[in-house]
C-alpha cells in the first residue's frame, strides 16, 4: 500500500511505466501470434456457421474490452476526483482512445459478421444499440477533452464526464435491454445459444488467449500514452528537465 502511493507520483511512475510497456508489449505480441494461429489453423470449422464464426475471435475480445475499458477509465477518473492525484486523470485520458477503438472494432466486426449470419449489416438489437451508445460516450469524452485548451482543466472536466457516464452506463444497458424485449418485432437476435453449444474447448481457449492479447495490448498502449501525457503536463518540473538533458548529452 505504501508502495502504491509512492508510484502515484508521476515522477516515480514514469520510469516504472517504461519498463511495464516493454513487458506488456512483448506479452501481447506473443499471445497475438499464438491466438491468431489457433484462430485460423487449430480451431475447427463450425458445423452451423461454417468459417464465418472465426470473426468471433476478434469480435468478442473487442466487445469485452470496450466495456471493460470504460469502467476502468471511470475508476481512474473517480480516483482523480477523490484523492486529487494527478496521475489518475492522466490514466483516464490515456485509456479513452483505445477504448473507443475497441468499441468501433466491435461494431465493425459485428456488422461484418451480421451480414452473412443475419442477412443485415445492422439491426436495432439491444446489445448492438448499447454498444453504439457506448461509442458516443467515448467520443463525447474525447471531444470534450480536446475542446479545452488547458490540459489540467481538460482532465478535470472530462473526468467528471466519465463519472457521470459510468453511472448512466448500467441504466442505458438495462433500458435498452428492456426496450428491445418488449417489442417482439425483429426476429433476429444474437444467436448466443447457437454459438455457445457449438463452442468446443479449443474455441474457448482461443477466445481467452485473444482476449488476453487485447488486454495486454491495451495496457501497453495506455501506459505508453500516459508517459507522453506525463511529459506534457510536467514539462516544467525539474525531473523532466534532468531526464531529457540526460537523454541528450
Amino acid at each position: 500500500m505504501f508502495n502504491l502511493f509512492k508510484f502515484a507520483s508521476p515522477a516515480s511512475f514514469y520510469p516504472l511505466a517504461g519498463k511495464l510497456v516493454t513487458l506488456f508489449a512483448i506479452a501481447s505480441v506473443i499471445l497475438l501470434v499464438i491466438g491468431l494461429y489457433m484462430s485460423f489453423f487449430v480451431a475447427p470449422t463450425d458445423y452451423k456457421q461454417g468459417e464465418g464464426y472465426r470473426i468471433m475471435f476478434i469480435h468478442v475480445p473487442a466487445a469485452w474490452m470496450s466495456m471493460f475499458i470504460y469502467v476502468v477509465m471511470a475508476c481512474w477518473a473517480a480516483a482523480g476526483m477523490i484523492w486529487h492525484t494527478r496521475l489518475s486523470s492522466m490514466m483516464a485520458s490515456a485509456l479513452a482512445p483505445t477504448g473507443a477503438m475497441f468499441t468501433f472494432l466491435a461494431l465493425w466486426t459485428g456488422a461484418l459478421w451480421g451480414k452473412p449470419m443475419w442477412g443485415a449489416w445492422w439491426v436495432w438489437d439491444a446489445r448492438l444499440t448499447s454498444e453504439l451508445i457506448l461509442l458516443f460516450l467515448y467520443v463525447g469524452f474525447m471531444a470534450l477533452e480536446s475542446a479545452i485548451d488547458d490540459p489540467r482543466r481538460a482532465a478535470r472536466a472530462s473526468g467528471l464526464l466519465a463519472l457521470v457516464g459510468v453511472i448512466n452506463v448500467p441504466i442505458i444497458y438495462y433500458s435498452v435491454q428492456w426496450w428491445n424485449t418488449l417489442h417482439q418485432g425483429s426476429s433476429i437476435k444474437v444467436v448466443k445459444g447457437g454459438v455457445e453449444t457449438s463452442m468446443t474447448e479449443i474455441m474457448v481457449w482461443t477466445l481467452l488467449i485473444m482476449t488476453f492479447a487485447c488486454w495486454f495490448y491495451t495496457i501497453a498502449v495506455a501506459l505508453s500514452r500516459v508517459r507522453s501525457i506525463i511529459l506534457e503536463r510536467e514539462s516544467d518540473s525539474s525531473w523532466v528537465k534532468e531526464m531529457l538533458q540526460g537523454a541528450k548529452s
Binding site: 461454417g50 476478434i58 472494432l105 465493425w108 466486426t109 461484418l112 500514452r225 508517459r227 511529459l231
Partner: protein
C-alpha cells in the same frame, strides 16, 4: 491457399474484420510512438533554448 483465403465464401467478412482490426491496432501504436517522439524532441528543444537564454 486461395481456398483457405476464401474461408468457405466468408473471406470478405473474415478478412474485413481481422484486417481492419489489425490496421487500427497498428495505426494506434504508430500514433502513440510518433506522439512520444515529437514530444521528446519538442521538450528537448525548449529546455535547450531556456538553458541558452539563462547562460
Amino acid at each position: 491457399m486461395s481456398e483457405w483465403l476464401a474461408m468457405g465464401g466468408h473471406g470478405f467478412y473474415i478478412w474485413g474484420s481481422f484486417g481492419v482490426s489489425a490496421l487500427f491496432m497498428i495505426v494506434e501504436v504508430i500514433l502513440v510512438m510518433r506522439r512520444r517522439r515529437s514530444l521528446v524532441q519538442r521538450l528537448g528543444r525548449m529546455i535547450r533554448m531556456k538553458a541558452e537564454v539563462s547562460e
